[in-house]
């Protein structure tokens, strides 16, 4: 067995434990309807991955502009694709929670607004990639856009929800800088964050390899 295989099985085991723990190890939190609070163990990591993927996309874009290596462009685009996927998942899980707690799927709460704009940014980035033929120009222009877009993310994630009134429960890093979950919640949430980050890294390496093979094939055909 190679190290990668061992890591893969470890990751699957870890995520299985997290899922079981999310449903049986912790009690439903007070102040939330029924079992709805359990969604936090999936919703928060997905939102975290959506932002992390964007960060990776931004960093690899900066690296591309510095070194002009095609593999950095591949990394940026794969990470943006994964970011879009996880942003959709975070939006969906958030919307389910909103339906249970506030009786509406979507009500343009500042948090919902910011994730919707994040989705738009990812989609725009991929639209830009589709609109440029020349690979080098596509790489550098989309790198510039990724960096520009990333600059707006702090405004969406931190400024908009802080300035305007929101229904969203306090985030892990709230305005008072304290953590109000009880111990078991924190344990499972952190384990879930680690598990999902591992899942992201796994998907990301696979995506990069596939894209590299695809580009090599295209060059062989040409």
């Amino acid at each position: 067995m190679r190290v990668a295989d061992i890591l893969k099985w470890l990751l699957l085991g870890w995520l299985a434990v997290v899922i079981v723990a999310a449903f049986f190890y912790v009690r439903p939190a007070e102040g939330f309807i029924g079992e709805s609070s359990r969604i936090v163990f999936f919703h928060v990591p997905m939102a975290w991955i959506a932002v992390l993927a964007f960060l990776v996309s931004c960093i690899t874009s900066v690296m591309y502009l510095k070194r002009r290596e095609p593999k950095d462009d591949i990394r940026a685009s794969v990470s943006a694709g994964l970011g879009l996927l996880f942003a959709v998942l975070a939006t969906t899980t958030g919307s389910v929670f909103a339906r249970i707690m506030w009786n509406s799927w979507w009500n343009w709460d500042p948090r919902q607004t910011s994730i919707a704009i994040l989705l738009l940014i990812y989609a725009a980035y991929l639209a830009l990639r589709g609109a440029i033929d020349d690979p080098e120009r596509r790489a550098s222009l989309s790198a510039v856009y990724a960096i520009l877009a990333f600059v707006t993310v702090p405004f969406l994630v931190f400024v908009v929800p802080r300035i305007y009134w929101s229904l969203h429960p306090d985030t892990i890093i709230n305005t008072r800088g304290s953590n109000e979950f009880d111990l078991r919640y924190t344990q499972v949430l952190m384990a879930s964050l680690v598990g999902f980050t591992g899942l992201y890294i796994w998907l990301y390496t696979i995506g990069c390899r596939i894209e590299a093979i695809r580009q090599r094939r295209r060059q062989e055909v040409l």
């Binding site: 830009l128 609109a131 440029i132 033929d133 550098s140 222009l141 510039v144 707006t152 300035i163």
Partner: protein, 226 residues
């Protein structure tokens, strides 16, 4: 430094002169804004909205008119260089930073020109009463500046892509939406007299404008000379 400024001013002056010859961007911005204003004023008018809703809803409509008018015309500055094949010559004639500053200056002039005509008309036609006029003007000034910074760099990007017209709105809007949210809230605050909302908005808009200016200045040479 002075050389940079001279070059930037020359680029802006050249753009303004060619713009006043053809008036493509001015017509696009101005006519779009006036048409939408006419439509909004005819269908909604000053009395259709109840008094307590007015500060917020009229602020929403005002900024939507300004943003969409901006999206209709602000990409011209770069697209016209590519369409008339004058971009290579401009690359030789001026440094990238000077080109960026010049185009930014041109876009700022356009957007302020639009606001100077549209906003008073809007306030008169829609019966929009502003309590904190000073705050309102500051929001317009800084909001217009940030709008120009963001659209300038996006215009530079899309000028190098294939489907320009559609792409400009698609790429600009996600970057502009946070700004739009700030400006709508701030203008509503200025209209109903909440000074706190106005200062919060000004802080957010100023920091966004500042960051975008720095990032654009750093990234523009890549877009321009690639």
């Amino acid at each position: 430094m002075s050389r940079l400024l001279v070059e930037a001013l020359a680029v802006a002056a050249k753009d303004l002169r060619t713009e006043f010859r053809t008036r493509v961007a001015l017509n696009a911005l101005g006519l779009f804004a006036l048409t939408v204003l006419a439509a909004v004023s005819y269908t909604v008018g000053p009395y259709r909205i109840s008094v307590e809703d007015r500060p917020f809803l009229l602020s929403v409509l005002l900024w939507i008119v300004i943003f969409f008018a901006a999206l209709a015309g602000l990409d011209r500055s770069f697209v016209k260089e590519e369409e008339s094949h004058t971009a290579p010559l401009l690359r030789l004639a001026a440094s990238p930073t000077a080109v960026w500053l010049g185009k930014l200056g041109f876009n700022i002039v356009l957007i302020y020109f639009l606001m100077a005509i549209l906003v008073p008309l809007y306030c008169i036609l829609m019966g929009y009463k502003i309590q904190l006029v000073g705050g309102f003007v500051l929001i317009l000034v800084f909001g217009g500046y940030t709008l120009a910074v963001i659209t300038t760099i996006v215009a530079a990007i899309i000028a190098r892509a294939l489907t320009r017209g559609a792409l400009f709105s698609v790429l600009s809007l996600p970057l502009l939406l946070p700004l739009l949210i700030f400006l709508i809230q701030g203008t509503a605050g200025a209209a109903d007299g909440t000074a706190e909302t106005v200062t919060n908005t000004l802080r957010a808009v100023l920091s966004m404008g500042g960051i975008m200016t720095i990032v654009s200045a750093m990234l523009f040479p890549v877009v321009w000379s690639d």
